[in-house]
């Protein structure tokens, strides 16, 4: 008798999470919880100014503080060829500044001491003399012919421009615009934001001179990439480097890059021959580590009177800070920005992009986003909103006309992506029904009588999740596949390891469910480990919603390899030929004689005790999975807000999310991901942004200035599902971790705009703080977050 899949914690079970058992007891093991014998502590001195030449650094007083073991400056790093390191986008980044500081918060010196308090004291005794230079805080200033050159360290870098890039068919797009009845335009700013996981970054480097082995505990989402990078930067052989990423207190893209602090702690351990712990404080995290967004999005739609989109043009100007350190696939200079409009049937499209250096922290990380997809979809849905208004069409009708229809798959987008499945129209219908779209107009009227303004906003989108395939996607030349290794022990229990790295997504729970689904081994009998490069198979890590699409697929594939071998063993045990064997969950049996069978556990025991002749003993294997395509989840988000015209304050009355992420492995965890993502979407729409004054001072360097929503502000969300299995993923799943963050912001913004656009205003840039909304209501004018930056 086949097993009941839900009972063994297989696919579709809302299995309670195994990792929770330690977290709820306060027994998680985050980097800062790790204590090694003889460990020293490191603190970093950061630049107080955004742009300045370093005239001198005097560390004498710091050395005199009792308990100080080592003081490092750019000069000491340079002597070991470590003052600069490569970024993930083929640029270089200063580890400790030698010539200039290029953003406020840049690493200038480091102190290693007996305890963190002493290290901090000693840092404050380091005297740095700066000669200040004008700060460039936006791309407009960066383009000024008289602007100071930020990257004067680079040969062949005469201006502050990093790249020009384009994709699409310009001529076909121009033709579409020539034929258009209506042309609609938007001009938007997606402000700089910081992923801000609650746990900041940190590392403990432990170099053992006797063995030559370097072990580093590190807050990283991609341990194997880090191992390769450390090997390159520190010139240590790769087999002598072990990166351990223990429990992570969130990541959201912030923990993908290599940070100077990691590198400095490694050198400090090599020099002191003691373990060196570096735990960044929150201000350090917010002002120096990978930010997201900060891009200006301009575009146009060519439209026919009946609502059909004929063509799309887009131009982006992105601000990358002082070092081009975007974490993204090599081929694409502005990430997957060209995934914009993938959900709509657009015959012609053209995208041009320019990127600039400024005196701000480097980054451009995929903040809960598949490489700039958040910006792409925000642009798309704000553009759709504006175009429907310009046409005088209903928002839902306009989308229905243009969404890719179910029978059009596989569909090649104007920029060349291949979307393969979905029920876009159905998702939209479910969302509209749930929010009560039909009766909204009456509700709006009724609210007006109360002096309140109601608005409704729609955002529908599909996004590319789960890079590779490896033909197109690599980081620093390393192909984007992933891996899983499964070892089934003789009692039928198992250990699974993957090249991904959970940061709260619950891999320890869901991966076991995939194995349970494939092999019928109860999920509770499978332990999952990730994050140790000495034990896990090589993988690219977890970001861009790639775990389930890539590593999750590898888990299914390795389980299938195990099953294939178990089948041979079963045939031997049942004394029939392999062809006469049937499989049902957890068990092989003889075709035509269901009673005669052996369980997967019987096969596991036999693999170690009764192996047929000619078969290798053991039941272990590894699989590397290179996906044939990205996965394309779809989402329809609809938001209803009430705006108080007296104050500009807006409240979410209802938010409906319909997600189609294919087959759901653990519905409880999927819903948790969606709610978390929606909250970040709400955060960006309403309050969360990092800005700078004209001197380049970061306004938003701590949680008093950088506002994150609490339980009190955060609205409730109503979730619905539609399931269209992914045609190429072994278990039909698609990525989900980021859909809500990507598609959510436009739903909030469109709703608020819908409530106030009777005044003539077309756009208010995020975040929609009450003062901005109020200003728009009073003036009927757009409120822009673009430069020139006001000094307020």
């Amino acid at each position: 008798m086949a097993l009941d899949e839900l009972k063994i914690g297989g696919m579709g079970a809302s299995r309670r999470r195994v990792e929770d058992n330690r977290f709820i007891r306060g027994k998680g093991r985050y980097v800062d919880d790790v204590v090694l014998p003889g460990m020293l502590h490191m603190e970093i001195l950061r630049s107080p100014v955004a742009h300045a030449r370093i005239k001198s650094i005097d560390t004498t007083a710091a050395w005199e503080v009792p308990g100080v073991r080592l003081v490092l400056t750019g000069e000491t790093m340079a002597a070991r060829n470590l003052a600069w390191m490569p970024t993930l986008s083929y640029d270089t980044q200063a580890v400790l500044a030698t010539d200039k500081v290029r953003f406020q918060g840049q690493e200038v010196a480091a102190v290693i001491a007996d305890d963190p308090y002493i290290a901090k004291d000693a840092c404050s005794r380091i005297v740095v003399e700066y000669e200040s230079l004008p700060a460039i805080v936006n791309p407009v200033q960066a383009q000024d012919p008289n602007a100071p050159l930020i990257r004067d360290d680079k040969e062949n870098q005469a201006t502050n421009k990093i790249f020009d890039w384009e994709i699409g068919d310009k001529e076909a797009t121009d033709r579409a615009f020539a034929e258009a009845d209506v042309v609609s335009t938007v001009d938007l700013h997606y402000p700089r934001s910081h992923p801000s996981p609650l746990e900041p970054c940190g590392s403990i480097a432990d170099y053992d001179r006797a063995t030559g082995k370097l072990t580093v505990y590190m807050t990283t989402q991609a341990p194997h990439i880090i191992r390769a990078a450390v090997s390159l930067v520190a010139e240590l052989p790769e087999h002598m480097i072990r990166i351990i990423s223990p429990d992570l207190g969130g990541g959201f893209g912030n923990k993908v890059p290599v940070y100077p602090g990691y590198v400095i702690s490694i050198l400090a351990s090599i020099l002191t021959e003691r373990p060196v712990k570096w735990i960044e404080d929150k201000s350090g995290n917010l002002i120096s580590t990978g930010f997201g967004r900060d891009v200006y999005l301009q575009g146009q739609l060519a439209l026919r009177k009946d609502g059909k989109i004929l063509g799309m043009r887009m131009h982006t100007v992105s601000d990358h800070g002082a070092f081009y350190a975007d974490a993204q696939p090599t081929k694409f200079k502005i990430g997957l920005m060209h995934s914009t409009f993938a959900a709509y049937d657009v015959p012609a499209a053209h995208l041009t992009s320019e990127g600039f250096y400024t005196n701000k922290a480097p980054g451009g990380v995929a903040y809960r986003c598949s490489f700039r997809v958040t910006e792409a979809m925000f642009f798309q849905e704000r553009m759709m909103h504006a175009a429907a208004n310009d046409l005088g069409m209903d928002q839902a009708d306009f989308r229905r006309v243009n969404l890719v229809k179910d029978d059009m798959f596989p569909y090649r987008t104007a920029f060349g992506f291949l979307t393969d499945s979905g029920q876009y129209g159905k998702c939209l219908d479910v969302a509209l029904e749930a929010i009560g779209y039909d009766t909204f107009k009456e509700e709006q009227e009724e609210a007006r009588k109360r002096g309140k303004l109601l608005g409704i906003g729609i955002s529908t989108m599909t996004e590319p999740l789960g890079a590779g395939n490896s033909r197109e996607y690599d980081i620093l030349g390393i192909k984007m596949f992933d891996s899983a290794e499964l070892r089934v022990h003789m009692t039928g229990k198992a250990i699974l390891r993957t090249g991904a790295k959970t940061q709260g997504q619950g891999h320890e729970t869901t991966w076991a469910q995939i194995v349970a689904h494939e092999l019928g081994i109860p999920a509770d009998d499978i332990v999952v480990e990730e994050g140790d490069t000495d034990t896990a198979p090589f993988g690219m890590g977890t970001y861009a919603s790639r775990s389930t699409p890539v590593a999750g697929a590898a888990v299914a594939m390795v389980a299938r390899k195990i099953r294939a071998k178990a089948r041979k063993i079963a045939a031997h045990l049942l004394e029939v030929s392999e062809e006469d064997i049937e499989w049902e969950l957890g068990r092989f049996y003889v075709r035509g004689n269901e009673e005669r069978g052996v369980t997967i556990q019987d096969c596991a025991l036999a693999a170690y005790s009764n192996v047929p002749d000619g078969l290798e003993p053991g039941l272990e294997n590894v699989a590397y999975y290179d996906p044939p395509n990205l996965t394309w989840p779809f989402a329809a988000y609809v938001c209803k807000v009430e705006v108080d015209p007296q104050t500009g304050v807006w409240d979410v009355l209802k938010f409906v999310a319909v997600d189609d992420c294919g087959v759901r492995i653990n519905p409880m965890i999927v819903e948790g991901q969606i709610m978390g993502g929606l909250t970040e979407a709400y955060a960006m729409a309403s309050m969360q942004y990092i800005t700078f004054d004209e001197e380049g001072n970061c306004i938003g360097s701590n949680y008093m200035d950088y506002l994150l929503p609490t339980a009190w502000e955060t609205p409730g969300f109503e979730l619905h599902e539609v399931v269209t299995p992914c045609p190429h993923h072994p278990i039909g799943a698609k990525g989900i971790g980021e859909c809500a963050t990507v598609g959510g912001p436009a739903a909030f913004v469109n709703a608020v705009m819908n409530a106030i656009e009777h005044t003539g205003v077309r756009n208010v840039d995020m975040p929609l703080m009450p003062n901005r909304v109020y200003e728009a209501l009073q003036t009927g004018q757009n409120v822009s977050g673009m430069p020139p930056v006001k000094g307020d």
């Binding site: 007891r25 619950g506 949680y703 609490t710």
Partner: protein
């Protein structure tokens, strides 16, 4: 000195004052010599190895370090260890007994009230303080009581449900 050996630093830092504090932590009296500037959070984490209390900010905003101080929730990153002398501190490690989870812990697991787990100890301690003074809170009361604690993963909705779950279980246990 309690260990058999204790290495004395070659250069004993002059005039670093220390003070002896005795704090009841999770029901047990603990005595530590501390510098007066040591934060309570760091004493718990480093001197007592109670690493369940996390720190997530420098500005008393995140609540990851929330513990109960004489039964009231406080942010242990904003209190000096010396201020805790003679007081009672309860941390996440004190919630469960060897054999049994506290209903709040069960609630967080059952209702998926955590993802990365970093905010969780603070959230649970703040929830405990709430349920002790209000055994039957409304959703709004829970959201307000937890508004000093940030979570970046869950979106709070499931945290609210977790607290509701725990409240119900605690009321049922009370009734028995």
């Amino acid at each position: 000195m309690t260990s058999l050996y204790e290495e004395v630093p070659a250069e004993v830092p002059a005039n670093v004052p220390t003070r002896r504090v005795t704090v009841t932590v999770n029901g047990e009296k603990r005595t530590v010599d501390v510098e007066p500037r040591l934060l309570l959070a760091h004493m718990l984490r480093q001197a007592l190895q109670l690493t369940g209390t996390h720190t997530g900010c420098d500005t008393t905003n995140c609540g990851a370090c929330t513990v109960l101080f004489d039964g009231r929730p406080i942010k242990s990153c904003t209190m000096l260890a010396v201020q805790a002398d003679g007081h009672d501190v309860e941390t996440v490690e004190g919630l469960a007994t060897a054999s049994e989870l506290h209903p709040i812990q069960e609630g967080f697991k059952q209702e998926h009230g955590l993802q990365c787990g970093y905010c969780t100890p603070g959230m649970m301690m703040a929830s405990k303080a709430l349920l002790e003074r209000n055994p039957n809170p409304t959703e709004d009361e829970i959201r307000w009581a937890l508004s000093g604690n940030l979570c970046r993963c869950t979106g709070y909705q499931n945290i609210v449900k977790s607290v509701m779950w725990a409240a119900e279980k605690m009321r049922a246990e009370e009734a028995e």
